[in-house]
Amino acid sequence: MAFQVSIPGGSVSRRGFLRGTAATAGALMLPGRLMAQDLGPLVEWLPGGSPLFCEIHTGLLAGFAERGGFSSSETVCGLGQNTEFNQSLIGAIASGNPPDISMLWDSPVSLGAQGAFMPLDEMMKGSTIPLETWPGGLLASCQFRGVTYGLPVTAGIYTMWFNQDMFEAKGIPTDRASFPKTWDEMRKLSKEFTVWDGDYLQVAGFVPPRAVEPMAVWSALNGGKLYDAANLKYMLDSEQNIEMFNYFLDWLNEEYKGDVNLIDRSGNFTDGYPNTTTGMGPAFRESRLAGMQSGSWLMGDFYSDPAPNFQRWDLAAHPVGPSGSATAAGIWPNWFVIPVGSKNPQAAFDYLAYLSVEGVVKWYEQIPDVPTNSQVKAKPPASLVERRGQEFADSASAFLQEQAAIVTPMWDSPVQGFATDQMTRAMEKIYTKAATPAEALAEAQSACQTELERVLAG
């Protein structure tokens, strides 16, 4: 039989209740002095990241736990990315043994809507990190039906990247302000760089976007959206989105022989990292791609293997589509949640409040995940200063924080994973011309809306 006890700010399972009762009884038998000192371990889970990432978080939590009277702290790193991590986390929550705090590289909305995470609104009121200190677009990705299930502590910010050395060689201005403001300007500029050798793409300017996650940004740039969280409605087959993909296809036909496979066989033109499946190096770092959309996290990896064969690059705002009116940015989440069943929910929240404003300064100094709370005054990452100098690092850092303020709402659907798969399928059909944008998007729209209604029906 199910047994649930409601407490302010959440509920506990029978197991949690019994554990809590036993702990309370045990605690009553202890001398008061000892009880005040030992609050048990504070446990945090991280999905993945480098050894440095793990080391930073371990140190931050340990310092906080020590000051807060906890006997110890434990930071569990590298539990797998996205699906694998969510699987472990949800299993721990369901079995009544979750961590106190968890980072998510996914939307807290999907699992929050199912009751996996504690609502944070009450705890945020009167704390050092109230709602108004967070950018709306970022906070939206943690909210469902007006309830906040996570904190957007730092974000990977999607912007445009361009190779200043390549621009300069063509006599094109290399300052951020002169970067193309519209898709038409970007497309026109792209042609100046693109060189084919038969069916081999030697050099490209910009290529039509094909990554699924940031597609919400491109849609916003064209005045559309993929999902309307306020009305719980998918909008994949809107006029703006159909127009967007027709525009990209037209661009593909005009500049890239209408064949994405030719681009893929020539190199990795889709992001700034080596392709793990083909072993091909990133065209951008090889000076074979003049510009691309990428995330701020690339700043931390840019000079690692394979090292770029140029020095000067810069960031710029996204250009606007034919039906759009303003630029926008996008995010990859580094969000934090307090799972239901956390043994120390208030301490977990206090840690997140510390992390959001103070801890994040140390974090950002070493890894370029952009702090998002408006109260943070962070120095740019040391590695960036070392490579590009203080002036550039300050400028890039300030630019990223400006971009964080104009992030378009994304990662905010209760069926995020399902929708991502549907969009992947639709985009594959569109770019391989197996279906028109209108057909592929209509099919994805129908599937996503049906799944959303099914999930919400409970």
């Binding site: 999907s110 499946t277 197996a434």
Partner: protein, 313 residues
Amino acid sequence: MADRGETVAGATPPRRRRKAGRAEARAGVLFALPWIIALVVFTLVPLILTFVIAQTKFQIIGLPTWVGLANYEAMLKDPAVWTSARNSALYAVLSVPIKLVLALILALLLNRVTRLAGFYRTVFYLPFLMPAVSGAIVFMLLLSPTGGPVNLILGALGFDAPDWLRDPSVALWTLVLLSLWPLGVETLVFLGGLQNIPRDVQEAAELDSPKAWHRLVWITLPLITPMILFNLVIGIISSFQVFVQAIVIGGTTGTPAESTLMYMVVLYRAAFRYFNIGYAAAMATVLFVVVLLLTLLVFRTARSWVYYEGESR
């Protein structure tokens, strides 16, 4: 007299015999108990729970709600289920027979090897020990359209190298190719069968027919039909459960163009990506029934083509 119940010298009294039999049975049950408990806890209970959960809306967190056959109805309308079922069936039809034939050829060759036999057996078994994920990644690098050694060799020989992983008409064949790599278990099973063929039968066959091909078809193959049956059943079951290679190559969407979208991938993503456990349980139930029916069908036909030594017809 024995029939009156008197004790015959040297024979165990019936009552004591019954007692001893019961004690033996108890000991047998006791020895088997750990396995029986494990079977009940880890197989039977989850199996029954799967059938029950399949009739609920259950998203791991929170309690399941009863929906009857709604998950099965949803399956019928889900294009991904049909696509993945078609792909999985095609994969099974292609991979199982090819794998059986290749494993048999390999076993026949290993059976003739006298020097370094243990070494060769180990070499052919090794791929089976490699984690499937690593194997899939190695194959992806080998088959890369740019710089992959397979296509470089094919190109150098003048062949038109296919786009193994991106061409929808080729990608399923790539998965089949991957399934042929770890042939060790099937080969060892065949080898065991071949080595159990009595020497006198082989000598008699050699006298009757000088042609090796005839001996293979009329003597060797009939004598190893139990091994063929075993490999066939296991092959059918495992081919419908192909997952790791499919998800490494095609992700959760079965790229390119859903050509690598397997039934188990759709089941997995329903459970752990979309948190739709009830639906995934319904898919698992259908898979269980289909594989069970196929297995029963194979066993039914086996009566006409499997020969067990000492069996009279």
